[in-house]
Symmetry: C2
Subunit: 164 residues, 2 copies
């Protein structure tokens, strides 16, 4: 064995089985994360898709429905329904959009922000327990590896078009 200083591109045949395992593990982790999230927030009546919308608004600030849809790569009609569900609950508001009469700006209300922060706090408990079990360097390597995986996969592939 020579300790190859290069990012061993020769050994790709040997790495392929591990790459395969990586993909399987990603799928397994995702399923369990979703199940854990559903359990964690069951009492709040917030499903995974509502949570995703809240998260987007929390991070992006106010935005129009089509913008959120594009950010998440889903149909604008789908986001519209989610926002329509969130509005009567008082978690988001629609503010007149100075730059567009028909497309109001959607933003979290104080109530919506509190809700999301409650969810984040619950999740933080789980994440902290997880972080304790992880090695820092290995975790960093995992982040780099998954970033490459995400990068090497196309962001979309549904007919390759952007809209209807």
């Amino acid at each position: 064995m020579k300790p190859s200083p290069l990012p061993d591109s020769r050994a790709s045949a040997a790495k392929a089985p591990d790459a395969d395992r990586l993909i399987k593990l990603v799928r397994l982790c995702f399923q369990r994360l979703r199940a854990a999230g559903d359990t964690l927030h069951a009492d709040l009546g917030i499903s995974a898709s509502l949570r995703a919308a809240l998260e987007t608004l929390y991070e992006l600030g106010e935005d129009t429905v089509p913008e959120i849809a594009r950010a998440k790569s889903v149909s604008r009609q789908h986001i519209q329904k989610i926002v329509d569900a969130l509005l009567p609950l008082g978690h988001v508001t629609a503010r007149a959009n100075p730059g567009h009469r028909r497309s109001p700006l959607i933003a979290l209300t104080a109530k919506g922000r509190r809700l999301f922060e409650t969810m984040r706090q619950r999740e933080a408990g789980v994440v902290a327990a997880l972080a304790k079990r992880l090695d820092g360097a290995e975790l960093a390597a995992a982040l780099r590896t998954l970033a490459i995986l995400a990068e090497s996969l196309p962001p979309r592939s549904k007919g390759e078009s952007d809209d209807e």
Copy 2:
């Protein structure tokens, strides 16, 4: 900075943001993997759930419907519908179960096996391209990290019961 020799359990507060990023990346990778898989196998008419059933049968060999359901933690009725869809396509067969008259053993046919292997070959191309871009040591670290993540999450949490 002290170069801590221990698997730094002290720095969990510092690792939590990375653990958070890990979870987000897992979600992102999963979404893209599903989209890429759908595109890759679009012409075969095999959806992600059918693929999962084929994979289970490929790995576990012949099994009854309820067994497959338990292996995948989904309702037996769901697997029943998938198997019922696969049977007329000739991808699986139902063989009389010596140990159970009502519950036949389901197995891949030669055609089903060929189909799954075709899918695996297509995927192998993508996986090989990915493997080339990954560093072996980093990949190994990612596998260990994700294994801990999966382990620390409960396998199920749907009312905590096993069946109806």
